[in-house]
Every structure is written in C-alpha cells, then in structure tokens.
Symmetry: C2
Subunit: 147 residues, 2 copies
DNA sequence: TATTGTTATACTCTATAACTATA
DNA sequence: TATAGTTATAGAGTATAACAATA
C-alpha cells in the first residue's frame, strides 16, 4: 500500500496564527502533565502564582488579569482554599483577601521549579536575544487584539 | 479608593509559554469571530483547507495531521457533508475519499480571504525576516514536544 | 446604582471505551 | 490482527443569567 510517512500536504504550514496555536498547545500540554504530579491544573498553578505575587488580592482582580470570567474563578479558588493552599480572609463585607498558606508557599516553589524546567525545555535552546524578541513579538500580537 | 489601572503584579509576564498562549488565543478568537459570518468554526475551516489541498484524502489522515482524535473528527466532517460543502465517496469498503463540492470551493475562497486578513492584522506589522524567524521558532518548539 | 461573590446552567472541546465493517 | 468510521459518554473549559450581600 501507500507507505508515505505524511501523505498530506499541510495547507496551514505558512499560517502564523495556526502555528502559534500548535506551539502553544505543545508547551502547555507538557506543563499540564508535569503539574499532574502535584494534582494541579494549569489554572490552579496560575492562581497560586498570582496570589504569591500579590498577597491580599481578591479573586475578581485575578479574573481580570487572566482574562477569564469571574464565575469560572469561583470553583478554582474554592478548591485551593479547601485544599489548604490559599487562605481567604474577609477584607470588607464582600471582598476576600487571598494569601498563600505555608502549604501553598511550598506548592508554589514546586510549581515554579516545574515551570522553569518547562521553559528551559522548550525555550532554553534559543539565545537571550531570540527569547527577548519572541517575548516582544507576542506582546505586540496581544496588543493588536486588544487595541 | 485605589484607582490604579492594574493593581496586580503579573508573575507570568516573563514566561514564554504563557505569553504564547495569550497571543495564540488573541489571534484565534479574532479569526473565530470572523468565521461566524460564514457559520463556520475554526475546525470546520481547517478541515475544508485540508480537503482543498488534498482532494481524495480521508478523515483519518486529517485527524492525524491536525493532532486531534479520530472520534472528534466525525461530527465535523459529517456536518460539512450535510451542508453540501464536502463530498464523501466510498474509496474502498471502509475508507471515504473527501473532496470539496462547488459550494465548498466557494466557501474555501472566503475562508482563505478571512484568514489572510487575520494574518495581516496580527503579523503584517512584522517584516519578512521577523515573520520567518517566528515561523522557524514555532516549528522548533513543536519539534521539542514531539521528539 | 455598581460591585463582589455566588449558583445554576449550557455549550464547546477534548478524551476514552466499545462496537461494526473491512483490509 | 490492524484499520476506518462510528456511537455513546464523560471530563474539562468557558459562556450567560440571575441572585444576595455590600459599597
């Protein structure tokens, strides 16, 4: 029969938007698999990072920064509180100030180590100038969507 | 009260993996909105492109090329057949050869125009050398995930 | 009146298991 | 035995509407 390795012509090869998606999925699925060892999803890890960087923030602020709906933040934060990784303290009557617990801080260190390893795996082969250029290009692309 | 525009420190700003995701979502959601005028989803458009570039291919080959499960390809192809955009002809007893109908070819032209406009919007501001560099970097990233 | 957090809900996307028919 | 297509289903992710409590 036909034994060609890749019998199809790829009409998307030159489309930057599509290649951006495939590359993004590649790095994120690898990171997601790494986080499984910590029983965390990507969003859990991102929220822990935000709380670590912004102690006392509330979940509405995190939602806005991540560009996700307020409603979808609820089960994520609640889950992290239930697991004892985040502490939720009443700030005013309707806002809760979020901070990492000691267990959350330990988890954050593990997250950071896995994320750094993932960055090294996928981007470590590029020199500093190329990485800076990539970062700048990605920020430019995002700005073109928001503007 | 606190009137800062962005009160949160973004701990993900330097992470290429995360910025890759945000940039990818930016370009894809814009393209997805553009396709709504044609009543097509992103996957529909991609499949039409593959059939256009590879007349006579089957849906298993498309699945493999796109990196999606066989099972999830079924409703996509069936929907395009039902809408008269793709023709499905028995090749052997279990394989169907897919080709574009005349309506499918017309739709493909519209898809291509919208995709080109989207590429121009998000990547047209980069010079040819930068775009080539981006494309090469993205391919390299993907290869590091598959290897 | 606007904002924060919440519940309920629905739709899309993606993933697995199991089945039929065919090579 | 392996492959192509399919069905049913379950899990994520993401969307909207509506509500209570508070600013």
């Amino acid at each position: 029969m036909n034994e060609k390795a890749s019998p199809l012509i790829d009409p998307l090869e030159h489309l930057l938007g599509y290649q951006l998606r495939r590359a993004s999925l590649t790095t994120l699925s690898a990171l997601s698999e790494a986080y499984e060892a910590l029983d965390l999803r990507l969003t859990d890890a991102i929220v822990l990072r935000f709380v670590a960087a912004n102690p006392g923030c509330n979940q509405g602020e995190i939602s806005k920064a991540l560009g996700v709906r307020r409603t979808n933040m609820v089960p994520v934060v609640s889950g992290l509180v239930d697991r004892g990784l985040i502490d939720r303290a009443a700030a005013d009557g309707r806002t809760h100030a979020l901070t990492l617990t000691a267990a959350g801080a330990t988890m954050h260190d593990r997250i950071d180590a896995l994320a750094r390893a993932n960055e090294e795996r996928f981007f470590g082969g590029f020199d500093a100038e190329t990485r800076a250029m990539l970062l700048h290009a990605l920020a430019t692309i995002r700005a073109r969507g928001e503007g």
